[in-house]
Amino acid sequence: MCNKVLNIVVAGLGGQGVLKASDIVAEVAFTAGLDVKKSEIHGMSQRGGSVSSDVRYGAKVFSPMVPDGQADFLVVLDATQVEVNRAVLKPGGILLEPALLAGTKLKSEKCINVALLGALSRHLEFPESTWTAAIARHLAPKLHSINFEAFAAGRLA
């Protein structure tokens, strides 16, 4: 890892679970013993507007915000939000968007955040068990099985 900071941006619309998804990513990196910062703006965004959240991790992280053109991964939960956020990706950065899940049947649209985390998880070095533990900690027990399924489906997508 050295001094490299990995930058992930999660974006979507208010109510889609953008912040929940970024909380889960941050917890996974935290559990792995890395320095982590997570940033977001909420407030007005809760009323269905655009929402995005930054997660950065590495040996040492200073600013909590991912600079434009430096995101290694951009996870977008709503197709309409891809273009508004694309500038955050670095050249060669990876976009994970709902179209990825076209061949995947989700039991609920509400799981799209966790499904795309499944897709993200394939690119990161953390074990699957760390992800499922973080998902379990951040979601109510009755939502666990449906989200574990969504995560597994996203991992295969």
Binding site: L13, K37, S39, H42, G43, S50, S63, D68, A87
Partner: protein
């Protein structure tokens, strides 16, 4: 407070870290009024098992906090930056009286206005009121500085401002707690000290001298023992900064020497001077007003300031790099995202449809319903501050030609009405416009915009348990307003529109309470009511 604080390691928001520190310090009471980005502090405090209360507004919250501290307890009072305007009256004088316990006031500023009507920089309040101020730059410091604020408050008997910003409040970073006890709180009890607590002029004059003496002592302490840190670098380039800007500076300018100021009032001017003299180029990077720059220059410290364009909005690592490079080329503008909107099925939609169709001149207020300004309604003509809808509406009525005056309505939410609308109604009764007036209170049973907090009009505490209820229509009728109408606007939108129209035509003073629970809160409200009902049956 004899229990040691456990050694913990967790990832917390700045708001959560403040709550945890307050709890670890044996806080007697947390008070406040909801306001982004400060709201989560008291909610988290309550979740952790601490004692937290919503007040009707920030002024009352601070006054309650002052009472707690006079009684010897540790008080935390939370608000957003504009809330401190409301609480400014007690702030300026509690600086004189001082406190016996601890009084920590959180001002959560919102540079960039993610969810605010202005981007005022409340570091100015510390100077204006003579109140020491600490500025954390991440959640660890939010934790540490809350404890330090309590210590400073008790050591010198002064209130302390903990100035946070949106990025510090809402970012999550790692927090480690000390694993040893913080000093125990003094025992609560009344200590009579009339010259210190009763600010008649004869007692206030010496109190002002005492305040300045305390500030001089704190300034001396801040020079040598304050929470200010230096990062070594070359002699060519040094940066002085505070708060979140420090994090951007370390990222953007890894080779610069940095003096990070943790206590930004009173400033450690000698340390700043030494740092400035030691570097060939000393730049000050600060979000918001040129507060550090002006303070340094007033003290004769030569520093370079950032160009005016960086006074607007938040800073980030890229902007800091531009400042350091003296790059004044136009900054890239982010693409506009989807703006927020009133939820589908929100009762405010019916209200603003009626106001639009009746071609009303709408004096608006702060809350979700501010979104009535956006298409397809475009039905809000003014918005200034909490409670202003009523006073501004009355002023419009007093001054506009009669055919326009008759179209003016004031629109205010339930929580905002309790916060600062009541005195507006007193004004309406006392100085009624010739054309009458129509005030709409949009009672959706919650403080919706900030995330569904309770308020006195819901009859439930911060914990959602039943308590005394402020009943709008009873209070308003008791004020002498005869035309008080209560209607669910969604049952029959046409009937609601007809009611507004008839009130406008009446030429009298009218209050319409449009009552229907917020969609997002309705389910939870039903649960709370059911719990309260079953509690009653058990008794």
């Amino acid at each position: 407070m004899t229990n040691p604080v456990p050694a913990r390691r967790s990832i917390l928001s700045g708001d959560e870290a403040v709550a945890l520190a307050a709890l670890d310090a044996g806080l007697a009471l947390g008070t406040g009024y909801p306001g982004t980005p400060s709201t989560e502090i008291l909610e988290e405090l309550e979740r952790l098992g601490g004692r937290a209360q919503w007040s009707p507004n920030e002024k009352v919250a601070l006054e309650v906090g002052i009472g707690v501290a006079f009684a010897g307890g540790r008080a935390l009072v939370t608000m957003k930056h504009v809330g401190l305007n409301v609480a400014a009256d007690p702030l300026f004088t509690v600086a004189y009286t001082g406190v016996r316990g601890a009084l920590v006031i959180v001002s959560a500023d919102d540079p960039g206005m993610a969810s605010s009507q202005n981007e005022q920089d409340n570091r100015r309040y510390a100077v204006a009121a003579g109140v020491p101020m600490l500025e954390p730059s991440d959640s660890q410091e939010a934790y540490n500085f809350t404890l330090l604020a309590i210590e400073v408050s008790e050591r010198w008997g002064v209130p302390v401002l903990l100035r946070m910003t949106t990025r510090v409040c809402h970012s999550k970073t790692i927090v480690e707690t000390p694993g040893y006890p913080v000093p125990p709180a003094p025992a609560a009890g009344f200590v009579r000290d009339i010259p210190a607590r009763v600010m008649i002029p004869a007692y206030a004059r010496p109190a002002h001298h005492r305040l300045r003496a305390k500030l001089a002592e704190i300034a001396a302490w801040n020079e040598t023992e304050g929470p200010n840190t230096t990062t070594a670098g070359g002699v060519e380039f040094g940066v002085m900064t505070s708060g979140i800007s420090y994090q951007h500076v370390r990222e953007a300018l890894p080779d610069a020497a940095v003096l990070k100021l943790g206590m930004t009032y009173p400033l450690p001017l000698s340390a700043m001077r030494e740092f400035a003299v030691a570097h060939q180029r000393t730049l000050i990077i600060e979000e918001g007003d040129p507060y550090l720059v002006e303070s340094a220059r007033t003290a004769g410290i030569a520093v370079e300031s950032q160009p005016q364009i960086f006074r607007f909005g938040e800073l980030n690592a890229a902007r800091v790099a531009r400042i350091a490079a003296r790059d004044l080329t136009p900054e890239p503008k982010p693409l506009p995202g989807k703006p927020p909107a009133l939820c589908q099925g929100c009762p405010h939609r019916t209200v603003f449809t009626a106001l639009r169709d009746l071609n009303c001149i709408v004096s608006g207020d702060i809350g979700c319903y501010s979104l009535g300004v956006l298409p397809p309604f475009s039905a809000m003509d003014t918005l200034v501050c909490m409670g202003a809808s009523i006073g501004v509406g009355l002023g419009l009525r007093h001054t506009l030609p009669p055919d326009e005056a008759r179209r003016v309505v004031s629109v205010i939410g339930d929580s905002t009405f309790v916060h600062s609308g009541i005195t507006g109604l007193v004004e309406m009764v006392y100085n009624p416009p010739a054309s009458g007036h129509v005030v709409l209170i949009l009672d959706n049973g919650t403080t919706a915009m900030t995330g569904l907090q309770e308020h006195p009009g819901t009859g439930r505490t911060l914990h959602h348990s039943a308590t005394g209820k402020f009943v709008f229509e009873n209070v308003i009728r008791a004020m002498g307003i005869e035309q008080v109408h209560v209607m669910d606007p969604m049952v029959n939108p046409q009937a609601f529109q007809d009611l507004v129209q008839s009130c406008l035509a009446s030429g009298e003073l009218n209050v319409i309470i449009a009552r229907r629970n917020c969609l997002l809160a309705a389910g939870a409200i039903r649960q709370y009511e059911k719990c309260a009902e079953s509690d009653k049956n058990v008794q």
